[in-house]
């Protein structure tokens, strides 16, 4: 009986130092795939390596043997002794492994639940396995189902909905205020990684004009170059306030860089256009009272963190719904897998033949007119023996392949040729 196994570690089970050991080398995935291909006990294999997880997925008939070999290979690959390696590993078998890989693809097992990159990484890993010819009937099917699950989860739940990073949260807020960011002007005061990231995201949403202010003008020029923006001196902030729509501040200044009076004075000239302050600095750069002004909105770093926490909680809620989609798909996959052995395939082939015989006899009875019981039996026997002769050779062939490594592929082919899985969606 073929089993699906996975062995791996993720951000929860293993510290980053350990994950690094396995993930750093660029050729490690190919190496792992060729190891799986050459290994007798492993039939099909796939190797996934991202910054948050390293995982081997394979099918085998000798579970213990294959698992032992895989672990020792992985520890050798990372250059880590097995003893320190084992506690960081998790391993699932059968439907648990299926459930796990579905959850991973649907981004339910990610550090940031719902983040979209993991699906792409899994697709890459699968493409590599397909190229190296280590994936076969079962893994092909499993991975396609995993992609399908991921798609369902994404469209049917709001798991990837709300922003969970500071800079994205800021962009979403800006959109709730301005609707469209095309043609909006951004003023960036001070420089910092997060502020620059926010500015970059805003530009990605259509913001075209960025002014950069800094205490040291040289630094302003440097940063402005990054965004093809306009460097301005600190003294010009007041006049820039009448122009800008979105102001991002992140200076190290201990005092307020933007004061209530300054903003209030600019409002008249702005003709009440909305003004959105994103204050990422600690201590804060923008005087908090300005949030009370009409058409002025201020979010500081704590506010943004609050938004993110809320969104995170929302994602967790959605993850529960996603969980049930995963379980549903696991059952579907299990049903398919069960059909993938000789006896059930032959049984369903015979059933199909019998149902055809019955249907055709029924259709012909009216045309044949009155028949004696003997004649009826002759016709039935005739129909049955024709059908049985036709399916006899395929059945013998499948029986002959029992126990061979290529059996799964033939079973799959037979099921498709005779269309034994009525479920169209499953044969995609």
């Amino acid at each position: 009986m073929t089993e699906i196994i996975n062995i791996g570690m993720n951000h929860e089970t293993a510290p980053v130092e350990l994950r690094e050991c396995l993930a750093t080398e660029p050729g490690s995935v190919t190496k792992a795939l060729s190891f799986m291909r050459d290994n007798e006990s492993i039939k099909e294999g796939l190797f996934l390596s991202t910054c948050n997880r390293v995982e081997a997925l394979f099918t085998t008939e000798t579970v213990k043997e294959a698992r032992r070999r895989m672990v020792s290979f992985m520890s050798a690959l990372g250059g880590v002794p097995e003893e320190s390696f084992l506690p960081a590993l998790y391993s699932f078998e059968g439907m648990d492994a299926v459930k796990h890989i579905f959850s991973v693809a649907a981004s339910l097992d990610s550090m940031v639940v719902g983040e979209p990159q993991i699906l792409g990484q899994i697709k890459d890993a699968y493409a590599l396995a397909a190229r190296e010819k280590t994936s076969g009937v079962i893994l092909n099917r499993l991975m396609h189902r995993a992609f399908h699950v991921a798609k369902r989860v994404r469209t049917e739940t709001g798991i990837g909905g709300a922003a969970v990073s500071i800079s994205y949260a800021a962009v979403e807020l800006a959109k709730k205020i301005f609707h469209e960011l095309d043609g909006k002007k951004v003023l960036l005061i001070g420089a910092g990684e997060m502020a620059e990231l926010a500015a970059r995201h805003l530009m990605g949403q259509g913001v075209t004009s960025i002014a950069v202010a800094n205490r040291t003008f040289d630094r302003a020029v440097q940063v402005a170059e990054l965004f093809h923006g306009l460097p301005v001196s600190f003294d010009e902030i007041g006049s820039q306030l009448t122009e800008a729509d979105i102001v991002i501040t992140s200076t190290a200044s201990p005092d307020y860089v933007i004061t209530f009076d300054q903003v209030k004075a600019s409002l008249r000239k702005r003709r009440n256009r909305a003004l959105f302050f994103i204050d990422i600095a600690v201590p804060r750069d923008v005087q908090p009272e300005i949030n009370a002004l009409n058409n002025v909105y201020l979010y500081d770093i704590d506010d943004l963190k609050g938004v993110i926490e809320l969104n995170m909680a929302q994602r967790q809620q959605e993850a529960i719904r996603a969980e049930s989609i995963v379980l549903e798909e696991v059952i579907k996959f299990e049903n398919w897998l069960k059909t993938l052995s000789v006896v059930p395939t032959i049984v369903s082939l015979r059933d199909k033949a019998e149902s055809i015989v019955q249907a055709e006899l029924k259709r012909s009875t009216s045309a044949l007119g009155a028949l004696t019981p003997d004649q009826k039996e002759v016709i039935q026997t005739l129909a049955r023996s024709i059908v049985e002769k036709v399916i006899n050779d395929p059945i013998l062939f499948l029986k002959g392949k029992a126990g061979r490594p290529t059996l799964d592929a033939y079973l799959d082919m037979a099921r498709r040729l005779f269309s034994l899985d009525n479920n169209r969606e499953d044969t995609e």
Binding site: K176, F178, H179, N291, V307
Partner: protein, 279 residues
Amino acid sequence: MSFLWFNLALFFELLATGGFIIYIIKQQTQVFKWSNRILLAGLIFHTIFLCHRYYSLGTAPVLDFKSALSFFAWCILCAYFVLQLRFKLMVLGSFVAPFSAFLMIVSYAMPWMEGPVKPIFKSLWLTIHVGTIFMGNGLFAIAFLSAIMYLIQERHIKRKRLGSFYNRLPSLATLDGINHYSIVYGFPFLTVGMITGSIYAQSALGTYWQWDPKEVWSLISWLFYAALLHQRVAAGWQGRRAAIMSIICFCILIFTFVGASFWLGGYHSFSEMGTRSPP
């Protein structure tokens, strides 16, 4: 016969209201689509009702409070579908449908009054006068609703409580845009309605203006809307202040519609119209 059309319109509008309430909770596009279709069906029945009434009375069916309310509801729905062409804002229906359904329920609760229509009301001027005024009122109602939505959304953003309404309501700029648009287009309707009203008064009563309470209050609402429009266009008012102002304007407008018709007397009051008298 016209009762049947009225009841059908009421039924579909109530059904759509239920759908729109489910939509704002569940956020499913399918629910919106069906609610919108049902609302459109309600509007069609409503239109048939109005046409039927028009022909059986020989004039616009606006001579008693019951009919005027249903006509108001009809105008709001028309304004909604026209604005929807431009803004395609699904959540707007969740505010408009309950509002017009409310007017319809009030209208439903009032008794039918049958009786001869005074010849003075059988004039095309009446139809134009009332039609344009109510079209303006319909647009102002949408402006009012979008102002409320604006204030809710603004409050959420200012207080940093980004809960359920925050997700369901559109951006501030969109809501402000709808408010602006409805007032810009509603105002000419109100103006034309008042001018045609005075022409009608001249031809029917021999005087353009006679300081009837409803005339005075209409003038006050008109001045308020004119002020709002001026501030918006010339002084760049937008957002919160414009939203509050358009709510105030709408309250005055509603007072003109309800108060001046019932309590202040004058030839515009429904009790003066026709031989019948309301309860």
